[in-house]
Each structure stands twice: as structure tokens, then as C-alpha cells.
């Protein structure tokens, strides 16, 4: 069984919950680290591992309030792994955004247009 990956939020890095057993997949809070590649490396590793033996349905929650461009590219990588997974399994992206946060909403819309995975938009 794949061990869960849980990262507590810091002032500039997001909270991460990746737990196969509980079917919980979430990235939240805000993401503006100086080195986004280093932060997202374990997240991507975990997902690539998970992809080999996934649950029948994966609901992935993005609950971000803010991310910098360095993080945007890493989130794109995360979503690409999920897109790969979606070729063989059910994947749903739940993109949460704060009410009145047009930028976060349109970031989600952008990803949904560029990817072939179903997105659901939820106002927080």
C-alpha cells in the first residue's frame, strides 16, 4: 500500500494531502515558494507511483488561494499526471476558489480548457 503523503502548510507552501486509503487528494492554501520544483518533486513522485495502482475513481481537490508562476508550472505537471491517469481511470478535478476571486477561477478555467479531464468548479 502506498504510504500517504501529508505536508503541512507553511507561509509560502501549500498543504498537501495524498491518501489513497482514504481517497483524499488535496492541495490547498497558497503556493509561492522560491523553489517550486523542489517542493512539488515528492508530490509528483507520489502521483506517478499512485498512477500504477490507482483507485477506480480519483477526485482531486485544488483549494488554492494563491499561487506564483513557478508553482503554476508544477501544478501543470501534477495535472498532466492526472490526465494520463484519466486515460484508464475515472478522474475528476474539483477546482475550489474563493468567492470574488476571479483570478483563481480563471486559472482553473485555463487548465480545464487545456486539459482533457473533467473539472468541477466550486465556490468556497
Amino acid at each position: 500500500m502506498l504510504e500517504p503523503l501529508v505536508i503541512q502548510k507553511q507561509e509560502d507552501t501549500p498543504s498537501v494531502i495524498l491518501n489513497k486509503e482514504e481517497g483524499a487528494f488535496e492541495i490547498g492554501h497558497r503556493s509561492l515558494p522560491e523553489n517550486a520544483i523542489a517542493f512539488y518533486e515528492p508530490v509528483l513522485n507520489w502521483l506517478n507511483e499512485y498512477k500504477n495502482n490507482p483507485l477506480p475513481k480519483t477526485i482531486f481537490n485544488f483549494k488554492l488561494e494563491y499561487f506564483n508562476t513557478a508553482s503554476a508550472k508544477q501544478l501543470a505537471k501534477v495535472l498532466l499526471v492526472l490526465q494520463e491517469l484519466a486515460q484508464t481511470n475515472d478522474v475528476l478535478i474539483r477546482w475550489h476558489y474563493l468567492k470574488d476571486d476571479a483570478d483563481m477561477h480563471s486559472s482553473g478555467l485555463r487548465f480545464s480548457k487545456l486539459l482533457k479531464i473533467p473539472f468541477e468548479f466550486i465556490e468556497m
Binding site: 515558494p33 508550472k73 470574488d100 476571486d101 483570478d103
Partner: protein
């Protein structure tokens, strides 16, 4: 008009602040939020520089007093005339903190203020204590007591003389600069450690007025100070959440640009601190976010190309360019995402303005400006 603004003042301010070791300047309306922000920013800097706790406490106490004074005496018409804004500057010179404030004063009150400060400056510690009591009693019958008490208290807490200058403005108003240098442990009590020059303060003040600038932060630029600065902006900015966030996005990208690409000249700068300047200004129509930093000449060609490219694109084209870059991982590394400038241009809606001053054949000084329309 926007396109052709000169950014020469960024460089001017950077060198003035560097030469006079200024850390932070605020010009504007002093609210509780602003005061709290300045206190926490300074506390953070004091913490970082590991001053002795006695020095820290002393500097902190003076700051509180100075900020209270400047808040109490700010002009009531500041919202109408930014030239009447109050001012706050903090410097660290020869291991001492120099705190300067500025505010509008009625010209007719100057003789009183002048004689009061001159008198304060002749008194020793015990005499100041006595004088405080006298003014406190007088204060109950005259409204001048308030100002007097604040000034006596500053002198007491600083253990040093007060330095001042009045500059006449139009009408019956003058601008009152007040400077305090709290003595530190190794100083002898009552010793006069004064800097009696205000010319650079006036010079900076004039630029702030001319360019409508409100906040200037002179580094250091690292992730930690970026977070402190972001927190401080939260308290100092007005407007809707989404508008505030736009400013946020751009500030983060511009500052992380400095953190990633800023160059440290070998002479005259600390080895491990990236020198640079961050400025925030606003008028009726725009927020102006500006940065200035050194950059290696070899990086300039790529940067110029990138900015010229994003500036030339229409909104739809920038959007497409963003999408392409978002999923293009070729050549991207932890220092270079290829998205920053596109995002700044996208969020701002205005062209990104730059100005390059060549320093030598190795590096240059780069000024950047991004605008956001006021809602």
C-alpha cells in the same frame, strides 16, 4: 503618457537609500494598520540583525512614540493634498538607528516648537523628567501640551538630542522634519550623536511627492523578506479582494525576479544580500509597482526580448503565449519559469516598462514598472 514616464528616479532613490543606509520609507496616511505594519517590519529587521535586547527595546519604544506623534499631527487634508502626507524613514548608520519623521505644521506654531525642542536639548535626564511633569500640568490648560509631551518623551527615551528642520510650504503651512538617534549601549549617556543633515531626506521626499510614491523598501531581497513585505501590504492596501490580489501577484513575481536574477556587485555591497529597491505608489488612476536591481549584462538581451515581446501582444495573444509557456518544460529550471513576465503583463493589463542603466561591462541597473488600474 504612461508609456514615456522616465524611471530614472528608481535608480536615484536606490543609490540615495544605499548611500544613506535607509531601510524603509513610508509616506502617506498613518492609520493603526500602517503603524502596526511599520512596527512589525522594523521588529523583523531588528530581530534579524540580532541587536541586544536593550537596544531593540529602546529603538522599538522610540518608534512607537515617533509613529504616535506623526499620526497625531498629520494634516486633516492629507487625502486632498499628498504633499501634506506624513513621512517616516528608518536608517542604520554606524550601528545606530536613525528615525526620521515628517509632518505638516502651522507656521505660526514654529517658534513655540523650536523653543521647546531647543529647551529639551539643553536638559539632562532628570531635568527632562521634571520638565515632563511641568508640561503635563500645563497641558491641562493648553492644547499645546500634547505636542510638547510627545517630544519630551522622545528625548527621554532616546537619551539623545532631537534634530529638526522646518521647511516653509505655501500658505501658512510648513513641513516639520524630526530626527532621533536612540543611543545604544556602548554610547555614553547624553552624548550628542547627531546627524544634522536633512538634505537627503528632503531630496527623497521631493521625489516621493513628484512621483506619488508611498512605500519604499530597500532590500534585503530574499524569500523571508518577501513574505514580510506581502503581509505588510495587506495592511496598507485598500480596495476589493480581487484588486488587492492583482497587486499581490505582480509584487510576488517582480520580487522573486530580483531574488532569482538580482546581481550582487563585488564592491560596496554585502556578499550574501541581493541589493535592490521596491517601490509602491498610487494616484487616482493607477497603482505603480516598481523594482530596481542590478543584473548581469548577459541576461539583459533575453530579458529585453521577453518584455518587448509581451508588450507587443494583444490580450488574446498574451493569453495564448501564457498557455504555451505553462506546458512548456523545456529549458525551465528553478530559476527560470518563463512565465513571470507574461503573468505580470497579463495581470496588469498595461505594458511592462523598463529602464536600463549600464554600470560597467559586466552588469547594469534595471528598473521595472508595472501598473494596475484603480478600480
Amino acid at each position: 503618457m504612461i508609456e514615456n514616464q522616465s524611471l530614472d528616479f528608481v535608480k536615484q532613490l536606490f543609490f540615495l537609500m544605499h548611500d544613506y543606509h535607509l531601510g524603509y520609507i513610508y509616506k502617506g496616511i498613518f492609520t493603526q494598520d500602517v503603524t502596526d505594519t511599520i512596527l512589525s517590519l522594523t521588529e523583523n529587521k531588528l530581530e534579524k540583525q540580532e541587536e541586544s535586547s536593550k537596544t531593540k527595546k529602546r529603538v522599538y519604544n522610540i518608534l512607537v512614540e515617533a509613529l504616535q506623534n506623526v499620526t497625531r499631527h498629520q494634516a486633516s487634508d492629507v487625502e486632498i493634498d499628498p504633499q501634506h502626507d506624513s513621512l517616516f524613514l528608518i536608517q542604520k548608520m554606524n550601528n545606530r538607528y536613525v528615525i526620521t519623521t515628517g509632518n505638516i505644521a502651522q507656521t505660526k506654531n514654529i517658534p513655540y516648537l523650536q523653543s521647546l525642542i531647543d529647551k529639551i536639548n539643553t536638559l539632562n535626564k532628570d531635568e527632562l523628567k521634571e520638565y515632563y511633569k511641568t508640561v503635563l500640568e500645563e497641558g491641562s490648560i493648553s492644547d499645546k501640551g500634547g505636542a510638547g509631551l510627545g517630544l519630551i518623551d522622545m528625548a527621554r527615551k532616546a537619551g539623545n538630542k532631537l534634530i529638526y528642520k522646518f521647511v516653509p510650504l505655501s500658505g501658512d503651512l510648513s513641513y516639520f522634519y524630526l530626527c532621533t538617534v536612540p543611543i545604544v549601549e556602548e554610547d555614553v549617556q547624553g552624548q550628542n550623536i547627531g546627524i544634522s543633515e536633512f538634505h537627503f531626506v528632503e531630496k527623497i521626499h521631493a521625489i516621493l511627492n513628484k512621483e506619488n510614491l508611498s512605500i519604499i523598501n530597500n532590500g534585503p531581497f530574499n524569500q523571508e523578506s518577501l513574505l514580510t513585505l506581502l503581509n505588510s501590504l495587506e495592511g496598507q492596501m485598500t480596495g476589493s479582494i480581487s484588486h488587492k490580489k492583482k497587486v499581490f501577484y505582480i509584487v510576488v513575481e517582480m520580487l522573486q525576479n530580483i531574488i532569482k536574477h538580482g546581481y550582487i556587485p563585488q564592491e560596496g555591497y554585502d556578499k550574501d544580500v541581493i541589493p535592490g529597491i521596491f517601490l509602491l505608489g498610487f494616484n487616482k488612476n493607477y497603482y505603480r509597482i516598481l523594482t530596481g536591481n542590478f543584473i548581469e549584462n548577459e541576461q539583459l538581451i533575453t530579458l529585453k526580448k521577453k518584455i518587448d515581446k509581451v508588450n507587443a501582444l494583444t490580450k488574446e495573444e498574451i493569453d495564448d503565449f501564457y498557455n504555451d509557456s505553462l506546458f512548456n518544460f523545456e529549458g525551465a529550471n528553478s530559476k527560470k519559469t518563463g512565465l513571470g513576465m507574461i503573468d505580470i503583463r497579463l495581470k496588469s493589463g498595461f505594458p511592462v516598462q523598463y529602464d536600463i542603466l549600464p554600470i560597467n561591462n559586466q552588469y547594469s541597473f534595471l528598473s521595472l514598472q508595472s501598473l494596475i488600474a484603480v478600480e
